[in-house]
């Protein structure tokens, strides 16, 4: 069963074509990563799913129902966390969540218990101050709570981790993983490691088209071995190393970049033979850009 599907969706703002031909679908109970560079059109696509923007051509359905712009009945199935969530600053978090319960027509008793449960989940249960003084991270947490409030069938998060510190990021990813039991998650990001941690499926958006989509394993197979950085202690050793292996690239003071990771043992052998002191050998996380460039063939 498809929870969400986009078929041949296109969107332009004035003369600027943001989305050309976007088609993908999200099966029920999956965490779906929606990846793309900044400005690729991820937010635009999400806003169209929510009926906040008109669609120029193509069709979007949520739980089998077509999405309509303006008054959007399909929004009843959706929980949405905007990229920069904004709430009424004069309310406290629990007041805001109660307000969410009331507008979605939840009974008062259920609203109260759901409110406590979610505040605990996002770690805001002791927060009695008004939203006015909240940091972006705290607003993000409240944003997660309000998005999950109505037990949505589909949870849409727009770059949920980008404003959070490493601890908060991990917590948020845990929350999204846990949410998979109850709902389907679509989240956008440009951080590849987030996708690797929690996603079942993903789609790459590039130049207004889906450049790649599939399960995480399928995508991983496309990824080549990552580059390695070697940092030596002394400049003369660095120089010697570079003379012996001319394909190494300079990457800062005493640092060399090895792009062909399969030659690493050879390199290590050479260093070990000469007993050169090494500061650090680091495998570079293949960031999105790298993989992306591979995928789109640039």
């Amino acid at each position: 069963m498809k929870m969400l599907s986009l078929s041949h969706v296109a969107k332009n703002f004035g003369g600027k074509q943001v989305l050309r031909d976007v088609s993908f679908s999200v099966p029920e109970h999956t965490v779906f990563g929606f990846v793309g560079q900044n400005g690729a059109g991820k937010t635009t696509a999400m806003k169209m799913i929510l009926g906040l923007l008109t669609v120029n051509s193509g069709e979007i359905t949520v739980d089998g129902m077509p999405v309509r712009y303006g008054n959007t009945p399909t929004n009843r199935f959706i929980g949405y966390l905007p990229d920069v969530p904004e709430f009424y600053p004069y309310m406290t978090p629990s007041e805001y969540l109660r307000f969410c319960g009331e507008i979605s027509g939840m009974p008062a008793k259920e609203t109260k218990s759901r409110c406590e449960e979610l505040l605990r989940l996002v770690g805001l249960e002791k927060e009695k101050h008004r939203i006015k003084g909240f940091s972006r991270g705290m607003k993000q947490r409240l944003g997660v709570a309000q998005a999950l409030f109505g037990r949505p069938k589909l949870l849409i998060c727009d770059e949920p981790t980008s404003a959070l510190d490493p601890a908060g990021r991990k917590e948020l990813l845990d929350i999204l993983t846990a949410a998979k039991e109850e709902t389907t998650v679509l989240f956008s990001t440009h951080i590849l490691s987030d996708v690797e941690h929690i996603c079942d499926e993903m789609a790459f958006l590039h130049e207004g088209k889906i450049a790649l989509k599939g399960s995480l394993d399928e995508v991983r197979k496309l990824k080549k071995a990552s580059a390695v950085t070697v940092e030596m202690e002394y400049p003369e050793d660095t120089k010697a190393l570079r003379q012996a292996f001319p394909f190494l690239k300079a990457a800062g003071k005493n640092s060399l970049l090895l792009e062909e990771a399969e030659r690493l043992p050879e390199l290590l052998h050479w260093i070990a033979d000469r007993r050169y002191p090494v500061m650090r050998i680091e495998r570079q996380e293949a960031d999105l850009e790298d993989l992306f460039m591979e995928v789109v063939g640039k």
Partner: protein, 253 residues
């Protein structure tokens, strides 16, 4: 929609908007009779210096009419302050994006618009009634309201003018993006109607005439003379609301 009304109430109270407006309208309510009461005393205090310039003051007669004249002079200023303070009621939400979580939870746009409209019409009505009530009370205490004719008709007509202005505000709030656009639209439309009223033929049915309550109090006009103006104001309110619903449904948030 009830939840959104509750939210508006909380917003008005916690941002201090309701208190400021209440203060302004209570002050205006007190000022009308107070100024009337103080006029003779002021004249007396100034009579010496006025005499020096060659002006001779005689005893000034004040009554409830003097106070009501003040009321009809001040209420347009009260309305302008009201419009200034509430002009951001919609647009602040567009600019900050606070409506997005609300709309994406499935609350219909019409409920949002209806709640806001009810709140704006309601607060104008309450504030106006408070101002009128205070002036009425003082006037009855100091003098006699009986001197003023068609008192409640005059008051109701001016209230209708306020409702008409609020309807314009709601319409411009539904179509524009910032509060300055709302002010420009509402102020421009109101001013335009006011200027057109210079022509007697147009004045006979434009809403601006509803503001001149004093004509009714002095019995220069009778309530029946204003039927056309009321009808036009009513139709425009209706039109504004219909257009607002249409525009707000299609608005990009």
């Amino acid at each position: 929609m009830n939840a959104f009304l509750k939210k508006e109430w909380m917003e008005w109270n916690r941002t201090g908007r309701s208190w400021i407006l209440m203060l302004v309208f209570v002050l205006f309510g007190i000022m009308n009779p107070a100024l009337a009461k103080l006029t003779p005393w002021l004249m007396e205090a100034l009579s010496d210096s006025l005499a020096d310039t060659g002006l001779v003051t005689t005893a000034v007669q004040v009554d409830a009419m003097t106070s009501w004249a003040q009321f009809y002079k001040n209420i347009p200023i009260g309305l302008i302050i009201f419009i200034l303070i509430v002009s951001g009621n919609f647009t602040a939400e567009y600019e900050k994006g606070t409506l997005i979580p609300v709309i994406t939870k499935g609350l219909s746009r019409r409920s949002v618009l209806a709640a806001k409209a009810i709140f704006l019409y309601g607060s104008w009505t309450v504030l106006y009634a408070v101002c009128f009530g205070i002036t009425y009370g003082y006037n009855a205490y100091f003098w006699d309201n009986g001197i003023a004719g068609n008192l409640f008709f005059a008051a109701a007509y001016t209230w209708v003018f306020g409702i008409w202005t609020v309807a314009l505000l709601i319409f411009f709030s539904a179509v524009s993006k910032s509060s300055s656009q709302v002010l420009l639209g509402t102020g421009g439309a109101a001013l335009g109607v006011y200027l057109l009223s210079v022509f007697p033929k147009l004045d006979a049915f434009l809403p601006a005439r509803l503001l001149r309550g004093l004509d009714l109090l002095q019995r220069a006009k009778s309530p029946g003379d204003y039927h056309a103006n009321i009808a036009v104001a009513g139709l425009m309110v209706l039109l504004c609301m219909v257009l607002s619903v249409g525009c707000f449904d299609r608005k990009q948030l």
